[in-house]
Assembly symmetry: C2
Homo-oligomer: 413 residues x 2
């Protein structure tokens, strides 16, 4: 949690309704931070199904290993998240911590060991002592309340400058269901995985395999399309829980991915995921501008995404945006280095609505003044047409500022 | 050229001997910079052979296209380099500029059109008017002198804070030959290509195919093992010229790559390339520390290099070094995100001689105080043992500082 709030923070936060079957408690365990909550317990009613996507890092954290193992059961009763220590690269001690925390959480929630999910975020390589917080879980499970989503989002923050929340209410087979989500950023964020931590819950009755299919599909154009610094966390975790309580109100149980009654839910879920992912970008360390990069006309969608990420991860493009400089030459450079099919003489580049480059050279109609004015905005859109095919993709990033360097030059000390 | 010189600049510059068969002239053409030289002409005696490696960017500059075409002849009589404008992404105008410059240079040096080589460095996307400088070439070729290597290095600088020079004198078959090289950085530098611009010349009599083989091999562990910001230039060019004048002094003409008499020359060439490549890193934009990243125990050398580059290009690792923080957790993260075979529980990490992590967790013997003292040095060595095989690689980079952001946030304006 930072003293200064990102200039890109939401102007107002959504009012989060309860999700039936979910109760929440937070606590100050003092793991690293003082005077703030750093522990979250989310307790789920019996019958809750779970889905998750995790970091593709070859060095995942102990809680990621733990969740992957328990996810095979597809059932969840309790989620415990701490901030301040990632319990990553902590060897045998780390596994011992997840085992002890898992046992304490299961006992607190009256669950079996396989229905517990854990996540940790913070410094890597410091042993995390379960004794510091596992004794708090019994009381937390007891006094957990449904209306604490904002508190939940706050308890999992690290270098985030604001809590990240999204909600949607949609119909499944005539019955209202709620989708609530929280997330945290704000550095070590890159696609090809989930973001660091995000948890979404719904009262819709959806079987675990369907839930997993929805999440795995939804992540591609949302969390896996954002990048702050191209660095992939060891702890990235995105989980989706469905309590199924809406079944009592007439929502049909969804047991097949192809069920036509899922349409509205699927779109709402993707919207919630995208809102959370964009909030992560907008709170990227040191960020002052959001940058949307769209690539069209590539050989394939995959090729378009690679080119878009090459642009979005280029330090030179990101520093130019920070300097409010429409330096499209650096966009050319980033297209060129992506290694994907491209033909210099067919490229066209837009910043906002202004076309700066066309057919391999500067657009004769390009107005430096108009573009300079555009670059002063908070939200910058860069579009590149490759001119070769029909592949397209959009990714989101933020600018690279001196504050990013300051935040990360003395995070550990 | 910057007002403040990098703290990592060489304490003294080498005295550059002449390379027989090479004459040099520089001029103030006023292409972008005022009050400094920005044009270099290097004139070669008849019989000079040439080799080159160029950017792998899909959007190469017009001079790169021009050089690639002429290199097939293997012969060189004149090299013309300008700074201040890269003549990249300049479409038909750019090709017209290289054609006109090439003609003027050939006429000035009494060469055929295919014996001319061109390079340009500076802003991308601005048309470069050959009329601004091509009329200067005739006089430059006339008054070119052998002893102007330092002036040559200065004329090609852009955001560089010092000129980059290296020299070696070695024997081929009993006769002394000289190898001189110059280079320029300092941003948009990443491996998988040459650096932005580097030119090396020797009086050794070496046939063009042999010269090309030596250069292509030598670049792997030198220029292609350095990265400043992971951004690949559109203009990267490394050329090697051999005048062959040493043949008069008894040096044998080398016509086969396997010629045993090349041993000393090959080692000296690689040393010159490495010295130039490291000078580029040490003048990386905003750099205050050089970072050497060595990966051992990987599945293969290729895998080791990918892991090493993942570490060297990680913004979080680079900002930690800038903050003098031995944040080895971020090294774990960078190993994990490389996508190469790795086993968290076999990893070991050293900063200098201190082992910080061992067998997947913090080394019990690790001294924070000793490591903090080490991090204050100018030259930081990070070593990672993957514990899986025998592949190893070393790459070099610099730290990521607020100055990098400042330099690149207002370069164009």
């Amino acid at each position: 949690m930072s003293a200064t709030v990102s200039p890109l923070a939401p102007k107002k936060y959504p009012k989060m309704p309860a999700v039936e079957g979910v109760r929440i408690a937070t606590a100050e365990a003092g793991i690293k931070y003082k005077g703030r909550t750093d522990l979250l317990a989310m307790v789920f009613d019996e019958g809750t199904t779970a889905a998750g996507v995790f970091t593709r890092s070859k060095c995942p954290s102990a809680p990621v290993d733990f969740c992957r193992q328990n996810l095979s059961g597809g059932k969840a009763r309790v989620l415990v998240v701490n901030s301040g220590n990632a319990n990553a690269f902590t060897g045998k001690k780390g596994r011992e911590t997840t085992r002890m925390t898992g046992e304490a959480a299961a006992k607190a929630a009256g669950a079996s060991a396989g229905e517990v999910f854990l996540a940790s975020t913070g410094v890597i390589g410091e042993p995390l002592d379960a004794g510091r917080f596992s004794h708090l879980l019994a009381d937390m499970a007891k006094e957990a309340k449904p209306d604490r989503w904002t508190e939940a989002a706050k308890a999992i923050m690290t270098t985030d400058t604001y809590p990240k929340l999204a909600t949607a209410t949609v119909k499944i087979g005539g019955a209202d269901v709620v989708i609530n989500g929280i997330a945290k950023g704000a550095g070590m964020i890159a696609p090809d995985m989930a973001t660091m931590l995000s948890f979404v819950a719904t009262d819709a009755p959806i079987d675990a395999p369907v839930l997993q299919a929805l999440l795995s599909k939804g992540v591609g154009s949302t969390f896996n399309a954002v990048t702050v610094d191209s660095d992939t966390s060891t702890s990235d975790t995105l989980m989706l829980f469905a309590t199924g309580v809406a079944e009592k109100r007439g929502a049909p149980r969804i047991m097949e991915v192809g069920d036509a009654r899922l349409g509205q839910f699927r779109r709402a879920l993707n919207r919630v995921l995208k809102q959370l992912a964009l909030q992560v970008v907008r709170d990227g360390e040191g960020a002052r501008k959001q940058v949307e990069v769209t690539v069209t006309g590539a050989k394939s969608a995959r090729s378009a995404k690679r080119i878009a990420l090459s642009i979005a991860n280029s330090p030179l493009v990101k520093t130019a945006v920070a300097g409010e400089d429409a330096n499209w030459g650096r966009v050319v450079m980033a297209v060129g280095k992506a290694g994907e099919p491209a033909d210099r003489d067919r490229l066209a580049i837009w910043f906002g609505d202004s076309r700066l480059a066309f057919e391999g050279e500067r657009d004769p109609a390009y107005s430096e003044a108009a573009t300079s004015a555009y670059m002063k905005r908070d939200d910058i859109a860069i579009r590149v047409d490759i001119g070769l095919g029909r592949g397209k993709a959009t990714v989101w990033t933020c600018d690279l500022t001196k504050e990013y360097v300051a935040i990360n030059g003395d995070y550990r000390s």
